[in-house]
Structure formats: C-alpha cells, structure tokens
Symmetry: C2
C-alpha cells in the first residue's frame, strides 16, 4: 500500500491569505459563497497505515494534524502520554511555507528530519530550530538520487529540480532556476507503486520529464496559472518564474509540457491564493481539467 | 475605548497539543466530549476599533486572524488589494509561541514591530525573520518604562518581569527568574482605562504587585496550576518555575499572591494544556474562580 493524505494544497499564505483582498481571498472576507479554504502545502504518506512521514512542515501543521484522525496520538494505554504516528519529516526546500511548521513539532517527540545538506544549512543558520532537541530529532543529510526508507516499507528519493534559494536568503542577484540541492522533488515508492511530489519547479527539463514517466501519480507545482498572475491580480510585481515556479499556461507552461506524458494521475498542488483554478467554474480550471489535471484540496486522499 | 480580543488563551503547544495524550488533550483524540479548543496565546487591542495591535504573534496567528472579522482585510474598493487592520505587533519575550507567527505576517504588509533590544536580538539572530521586509516592517526598540503609542490613542509601556531566555537559547546554566529585558509585561492604556498583560512571570515581586494595583483588568500567567504539574500528568520533568512560570497554587503561587489585590478583573491566560483549570468542573477551576479569577478562552472580548 502507498497512501497519501493532502494536508494542505495551497502555496505560501494559504487560501485565504491574511492580508489579501484579491478575488479568491476576498470571497472569505465578504462571507458570501466563499471558496473551499486551503492550508499551506504539505502531504502525509504511509506504507503500513501506522507510521507516517510528512513531506514539508507548513506553518499550518498544528491545525492540519488536528484535522486528520490518522495523525493523532494513539491510545495512551498502549502508546503512552506522549505519542504521534509521525515518524519522519522530509523537506523539499527551505521556504517558510515548508519549514516553519517544524517549530510546532517541538515538545519532545522523536523523529527523523530528512533534507539535503543545503536545506539543512538553512535550518542550522537559524538557532530557533534548536527547539527541536537534537537528542530526539535526528537531522539526516540526504544526497540526491540515493533512495532511503522514510518510514517502514516506503522508499523516498530526492532529485534536484530547477528552483531558487528561499526569499529570506536572496541576495541582490538571484538565479531563479538553478539546479542543485536547494530545491528538490521526491520520488515515493512502496511495493510497485510510485508517486512523485514536486511542489516547486521553475522549469521542466527533458531529463526530469523522462523521469516522471514512471509515475502512478504526479503532484506538481501549481503555484500560478499565468506567469504574470500577481500583476494581473494587482497584488505584486513578481512573475511566477521570478518566484521559482513555472506557470501552468503558455508555451513553456506545465499544461503544455505534460500534454503527452504517460502518468496515471496528474495533480496540481502548492496552488497560490491568486490562482484562478481555485474557482470551480473558471475557464482556467476547465482548461486544466480538460488537459487531464486534478486540483488538489485539503483532505484529498489517495491509496494505491 | 479600550477593546481587547483574546485570539488565543493557551500556552505553547495549544489545546490540544499535537503529541500529547494527557487528560485534556486526550479528550480531543477520543472525540467524546472534548474540551473547548484553545490556540496559542495572543491578544489583539484597539482604541479606535479600526487600527489593531497584536500582543505576541503565535504560531496559530493565521487561523486566529481568519477567525476574527475585526482583523480581516477591509473593502478592497476603499483599502486596496493588500490590506490588514493590524498596524503593529508587540512581543513580550522571544519564546516560539510568541514569535513564530511573525513568519505568517510576511507578504508585504507594513507594520511596526515593538520589542526590547534583547528580544529584537533573538529575531536578528535568525535570518528567517528577514522574511519580514525591513522596508515595510519597522523593528522598533522599546525601552522598559517608556510609554509609546502602539496604535492611535492607545499607549503601551513595557516593564521587566522575572523570567528566562527562550528554551532554544538556554545554555547549561539557566536563571529562571531573571529580571531584565528578556521577559516583559505590558501596560495598555486608553483614556482612563488600564489593562495589564503578563503571559509569563516567574515570581511576583512587591514592586510588580504594587504596580498592578492600578489596573482595570489583569491578564496573568496561568501556565500551570501545580508547580509539579508536568510530573503529575506524566508528560515531563520540568516544574513550572523551571519553565519561567509561577504556578497558580501554593504559598507563593499567584492565587495567594493576588488574594487581596485591588484589580477590576483578574484573568488567567497562557494556560498550558496540562492545566486542570481547562476542565469546567475541576476542583482547581473552582478554586481559581472562588478566588475571583476568570479563565481566558479563544474568542473572549473585553471592552472598557
């Protein structure tokens, strides 16, 4: 078995975003017919139904865990007064929406924290993460393209994808589609099933496209539909690519890039609150669905 | 007017705490008759009903803002596509449950961030807080005993209270009731009304007790009822005092210390998930209420 729970489907800020008045977030503030809310991007995975790994730890992780029975502490008679089925956490980059939740996972719970050396350096550069007691939380450096067991019977393998360093570490000159250890995708496999999880990807290389052909399920960067979406919505100047995310639309967008790829299910995740695909009847949603894509949502479950 | 919203009444971890199976948290995991949930400690204050200050930024701040209409972005026609009535944030110490929410308050919103020099050093020692663009978020050093306007018509004044450095900065030798700039209380005043907010206090000095006599409302450290509560509940070894919090009970607990003090309303806040006062019919709750204390809860509102 390979089972996945989508804890949060939204990109940084979530839906609604606390200070955003663009059309999607504003539907919540007005209160009439709001969209379905979405928390920041994280998934939980298991192969045995009892030991879980989190891929990324979003700032919403406390509410995400409370919302999912599978991630609650188990019976105290058997498991004791401190318990969690969460046995490991894997990080795909050092962005706040992927690491801030680590600060909630303190409170003396033992788990393995997997990430590349470069992502671990983001954590070690911030003493606040010492809240994770090193006696209990083991920081494990994971090399790209080297499979490891993330929880029992579930293999994970990281691979570099084009991306950039976290915003809070950007200097004056930013390379937005660097291929290195700062942004990775994850291959998750159990028995003969394979799921790819790539919440951030600035550009689809031929090599990466070939790799993904093997998958039963692909979760892919759905941050923006239009590269200039922030400008269109009037809430920012940065393009999707400047933020390290290829758009869905356009000649080199993900809809076109994956048009003829052989993958069981293609699911957009890490969707920004500005993205029109959040609106069930938008032309953009229809275009994505017509191209065979699903739109992830909080509470989505997949069992292979 | 001086108006206060309790955004979160719980100490670090919240109620329930993600990995806790002690009696209060376990009521949520079993699902039968759970207690009222509580997020981590933060209040919002205003004197004009339109500009708000947050005192402490808890890890739950995104959900706390979404839950309170008063803190939502206002009409986009008038206030634009990026808006928040939150104009400032004040920190009372550098603990994770008081500062991690700053990471959610990114997204290009301008506000003033007030704290003592020592608390600002905790932030500047962690580059992740550079997510708050210094062009927009002004870090303002606030000296103890020097009143300042935190939002229009609302004065704030910090004063040292006995406490300790954040857990993640503890060295081998920890002074748990140091009086300095690392833990402060806040005096909030508008017109002729005064509210004191002291979510952490290791010991009540005579000077501090005298100061509080002036208050219409006192919010005070309600972390633990029993100093040895973590041991009693089987979830830890540390005493309340070791964590920098005086207990409610005992000869030098807060119930005794404030027995004859002249304050309009006394309200416990920053209540740990192990504290029996969360249970409406517990003897400890009855003892606190008989001594004139109220127990804060998420959604509590006070208007003076």
């Amino acid at each position: 078995m390979l089972r996945i729970l989508v804890l949060g489907a939204a990109a940084g800020g979530g839906l609604p975003q606390w200070n955003c008045n663009a059309i999607n977030s504003a539907s919540f503030w007005r209160g009439d017919q709001p969209l379905q809310a979405a928390t920041q991007c994280s998934i939980a995975v298991t192969a045995d139904g009892s030991s879980w790994a989190l891929v990324n730890a979003s700032p919403d992780i406390r509410a995400q865990i409370i919302a999912r029975r599978e991630l609650h502490p188990r019976a105290p008679e058997e498991y004791g007064l401190r318990d969690s089925p969460v046995r490991s956490v894997l990080l795909t980059n050092g962005d706040i929406d992927h690491i801030a939740g680590l600060l909630t996972l303190r409170e003396r719970h033992a788990f393995d924290l997997f990430a590349t050396a470069e992502i671990h350096r983001v954590l070690s550069g911030n003493p606040i993460f010492n809240a994770l007691d090193p006696e209990l939380v083991k920081r494990r450096e994971t090399a790209p393209n080297a499979p490891f067991e993330i929880v029992p019977d579930l293999q994970a393998e990281l691979f570099p994808v084009p991306g950039k360093v976290p915003l809070f570490l950007e200097g004056d000159a930013v390379v937005t589609d660097l291929i290195g250890e700062q942004t990775v995708g994850v291959r998750l496999s159990a028995a003969d099933r394979t799921v790819f999880f790539i919440p951030g990807c600035a550009r689809l290389t031929a090599e990466l496209r070939d790799k993904l052909q093997q998958g039963d399920v692909l979760f892919f960067d759905g941050t923006v539909f239009h590269d200039d979406e922030m400008q269109r919505e009037g809430v920012g100047q940065k393009t999707g690519r400047r933020m390290g995310h290829m758009p869905m639309s356009g000649d080199d967008g993900s809809l076109q890039a994956f048009r003829d790829i052989d993958i069981g299910r293609k699911i957009y995740i890490h969707i920004n609150n500005t993205n029109p695909v959040w609106r069930p009847h938008s032309p953009e949603r229809q275009e994505a669905e017509a191209a065979g894509w699903e739109i992830a949502f909080d509470g989505m479950e997949i069992t292979l």
